[in-house]
């Protein structure tokens, strides 16, 4: 039940390592350093003397500048994996290295920005002050805070809304503020947990494109949890497909789409082939439980 399930070697990709050695041949990642290295990671929750294996045998490495999506059915542990990296949850087994540090050290050095499913803005703060919240916690001087807030708000295209309060914004705008907030202290790693899950499809498309451009223009490494195959394929350089009960990695699919993309890429055969591969892996993960 734990590691070494007999069917695991069948999808060699799940180990991550052989696959990444293989794809290390790709020029853009060959010399990039690993931002996240997980080896045989597992999480077990115990509640009311009932044990739930939330995550088991996850081995994965993410390199700088990558955009990695985690996709899978509900309860497959993709959010748990993200929370492990963020040190919001503790691993029961295995090792995890973030930026060459333990997750706790990485968190204390503010290595990553985290975007939650909901915008989680502070309703009593206006947009600019929400974005400045992490900077206040870091103790940056006022002028620096304002300069950085102005820059990231410009980045997400919300400069003219800096004085508004969260309830005066649409859901999509609120989530953009929350992305700006996560970027304000200039992390090298952006962790996003279904940030567009609660939004309508048109808003989602816009934000997906926006996020892609943001990532392309910076040297950010991104981990993105999603339910949506199209979103994952459009945004990612690599797609990690997970399955539930217990949560584990079924397959890691490399994307050969160009780094620069627009929404039209979704009509190309390469895109459709990738989407098909992801769906097949999802079905496979679902079927063998």
């Amino acid at each position: 039940m734990e590691t070494g399930r007999p069917d695991k070697p069948d999808h060699g990709e799940h180990e991550g390592r052989p696959k990444s050695e293989q794809s290390d041949a790709a020029p853009e990642r060959s010399d990039a350093r690993a931002v996240i290295e997980a080896h045989d990671l597992g999480v077990t929750f115990t509640a009311d003397s009932q044990t739930t294996v939330a995550l088991t045998g996850v081995t994965l490495s993410v390199h700088q500048g990558e955009f990695v999506s985690l996709i899978g059915p509900s309860g497959c542990g993709k959010t748990t994996l993200l929370r492990l990296i963020a040190d919001l949850e503790q691993a029961s087994t295995g090792t995890l290295v973030v930026n060459g540090l333990t997750p706790e050290e990485a968190r204390k050095r503010r290595a990553y920005g985290y975007v939650f499913q909901a915008p989680a803005l502070y309703p009593w703060r206006n947009v600019a002050r929400n974005v400045m919240l992490p900077l206040e916690v870091m103790g940056l001087p006022r002028a620096e805070r304002q300069a950085r807030a102005a820059r990231v708000l410009n980045l997400v295209g919300l400069s003219e809304f800096r004085g508004r309060f969260p309830w005066q914004l649409s859901g999509g705008m609120q989530q953009r503020v929350s992305i700006a907030r996560a970027l304000s202290f200039e992390p090298t790693l952006l962790l996003m947990d279904e940030p567009f899950g609660a939004l309508d499809e048109i808003t989602r498309d816009g934000l997906t494109l926006h996020l892609h451009e943001l990532w392309r223009r910076t040297s950010l490494t991104a981990m993105f949890v999603t339910h949506s195959v199209l979103e994952a394929v459009f945004l990612s350089t690599r797609i990690v497909v997970m399955s539930s009960r217990p949560g584990r990695v079924v397959s890691v699919i490399d994307s050969d789409l160009p780094r620069e993309r627009d929404l039209d890429v979704r009509e190309t055969p390469e895109f459709l082939a990738l989407a098909h591969a992801v769906r097949a892996a999802l079905r496979e993960g679902h079927g063998d439980v």
């Binding site: 204390k108 939650f116 502070y122």
Partner: protein, 289 residues
């Protein structure tokens, strides 16, 4: 808008009119025997009724008697004269305000302790509940006498009793408020590796305001009751409690009722002040508490 206002004013006026009619009826019934005893033998029932509604020391004064007593005691004497109702209201209000301030400060300190120190959470709450089970109204005379014997007279014992009677809603409201923070916003602070003090100042405290203000609205009239009760036992020279006491000594029922109405007005002013403070906070938060 005008329609709305009219539709609200009309039922209110109907209720007031009904109450006044009932009050006159009750005054007539309660004062009848006394009026009949004083009347000439050949007096008709209209004469008795007229007398019943204008006795010097009625069992139940009529609304117009109370109104004229209030008018006289407010406007016929300078505000610093012991014969002025405003003077007595001021004395009581001052004690209530001090007691309320004590309640807010003590309540907040206790709540912060309960929320942050596990032992206090378990050790303190039973005692706080026990403190509210003590019939303060009954032991207030003892408290005043005991404090008087150690030289604490005047406003101090009154403020202490007012504080005792009103701090509990503040504690429970603040404890609930300080714990009300959304888990996602708390996780967010963790990703910033914020200190406990920062989490308190930037998240818990602002979150608690939505609970503090309703608690203060409950506590403010209680502080007023505490101050009045504390004025009763020692035959205090001044204050609404003293007016109640002298009124009942000398059968001056209009004076008692005038003092009661003044207490009601003070309570409304107190609640309105809390509402005003809340409105200021809401405005600084862009329209939401």
């Amino acid at each position: 808008m005008a329609m709305f206002e009219r539709s609200r004013a009309l039922p209110l006026l109907c209720v007031v009119a009904l109450l006044i009619v009932l009050w006159f009826g009750a005054a007539l019934a309660m004062n009848w025997d006394q009026a009949q005893a004083l009347a000439d033998d050949d007096a008709g029932w209209t004469d008795v009724a007229t007398a019943a509604l204008s006795l010097d020391r009625p069992l139940l004064p009529t609304p117009d008697q109370v109104a004229s007593e209030m008018f006289r005691s407010v406007f016929d004497y300078p505000a610093n004269s012991p014969r002025s109702l405003l003077f007595h209201a001021g004395v009581t209000a001052w004690a209530a305000v001090l007691g309320f301030a004590i309640a807010v400060v003590v309540g907040m300190v206790l709540a912060i302790g309960i929320v942050h120190v596990r032992t206090l959470d378990r050790a303190l709450m039973p005692w706080l509940i026990a403190s509210q089970a003590v019939p303060v109204l009954a032991i207030a005379p003892m408290v005043v006498v005991v404090l008087g014997s150690i030289g604490q007279t005047g406003v101090v014992p009154k403020a202490l009793i007012a504080g005792w009677l009103s701090f509990f809603p503040i504690v429970t409201g603040m404890v609930k408020g300080l714990r009300s923070s959304d888990p996602m916003r708390r996780d967010l602070m963790r990703t910033y590796s914020a200190t406990d003090a920062q989490v308190f100042a930037k998240l818990r405290w602002p979150d608690s305001m939505a609970f503090l203000f309703p608690a203060m609205k409950v506590a403010a009239p209680l502080a007023l009751v505490g101050a009045i009760v504390a004025e009763l036992p020692t035959g205090a020279q001044a204050g609404l409690g003293a007016r109640l006491l002298t009124g009942s000594y000398y059968g001056q029922t209009p004076q008692i009722w005038a003092a009661l109405f003044m207490a009601a007005i003070l309570a409304m002013l107190a609640v309105a002040t809390v509402d005003g403070a809340q409105a200021l906070l809401v405005r600084s938060r862009g329209g939401r508490l």
